[in-house]
């Protein structure tokens, strides 16, 4: 009698086990989504957005044609045309701005601002440095009076 009761109890336990030991598909999905949201929140916490800018910002403008012309000459590796189109001092500034690049593969325009006719046009130049490794530098052209007057 006792043996029969114990057997029945084991059978009941076995029948109940799959229900109590597994989560339903919807609960599993819900828990997964909760985890996903927590992971996204944690990632946002460890890489926060930039702090608010306490200063006024100037509106961004399009790429000025004057800097486009210089960028074309740089990408064409045309030293003669660059020498014809730029003053010696400006060429030195350009050389310093492109340091340590020996060869420029790409110049991507990233943004420009204008203040009282003075335009700053920003580019990121990517090329090869002395050890033949790829490297990128920021180059900013100052455009005024329809020509490039400075390079940083």
């Amino acid at each position: 009698m006792v043996s029969a009761q114990a057997g029945q109890a084991r059978a009941d336990e076995a029948a109940a086990a799959p229900v109590s030991r597994t989560l339903g598909p919807w609960v599993t999905l819900l828990l997964f989504v909760v985890g996903l949201v927590a992971g996204v929140a944690a990632q946002s916490y460890v890489s926060p957005a930039p702090a608010a800018n306490p200063y006024p910002e100037l509106p961004l403008i399009g790429e000025p044609p004057e800097s486009v012309a210089v960028v074309r000459l740089i990408l064409a590796d045309d030293a003669r045309a660059l020498a014809a189109g730029m003053e010696g001092e400006l060429l030195k500034e350009l050389g310093a701005a492109l340091e340590p690049l020996q060869e420029v593969f790409d110049m991507k325009f990233v943004g420009a601002v204008e203040r009282r006719g003075d335009i700053l046009a920003s580019y990121v130049a990517t090329g090869r440095e002395q050890r033949a490794q790829s490297f990128s530098v920021g180059v900013v052209f100052r455009v005024s009076g329809g020509k490039v007057v400075g390079v940083n």
Partner: protein, 135 residues
Amino acid sequence: MGKVVRNALATVLVGALLGFVVMSLGGLLIQEMQWFGNRESAEARRYMIGILENEPDTLASLTPRGDLVSRAIQYKMTQESQGQWRPISLTYLGGLTKGGISIHTYAIELRSAAGREQFVPLALTVANGKVIRRE
């Protein structure tokens, strides 16, 4: 019951891990591919504000630890420029992220105590949360 809790915790953990990794890698991929332009880095912004507000400690914390003399020169330059220029505007021009290195460019308007105004650009190169180049 214990197994149910373990399963539930494991499910949440797997979800959290996946969310974290996807956001980290996805963010980098989006930056590299330039799908939505380049996001300004928090470090670059803090560095720029540190320059404009003359905060040598902020600048020191955001640059790789150099030798003693270089750090002293940095403090000296910050002290000497204190109050000479007042910032008028700070504009993020844009940048590019490539292989863990990001370049961020800014335009700054400044006014001297004598009323002279300057409109200058600044490009920062950021790697591993530190400004490794400023030009």
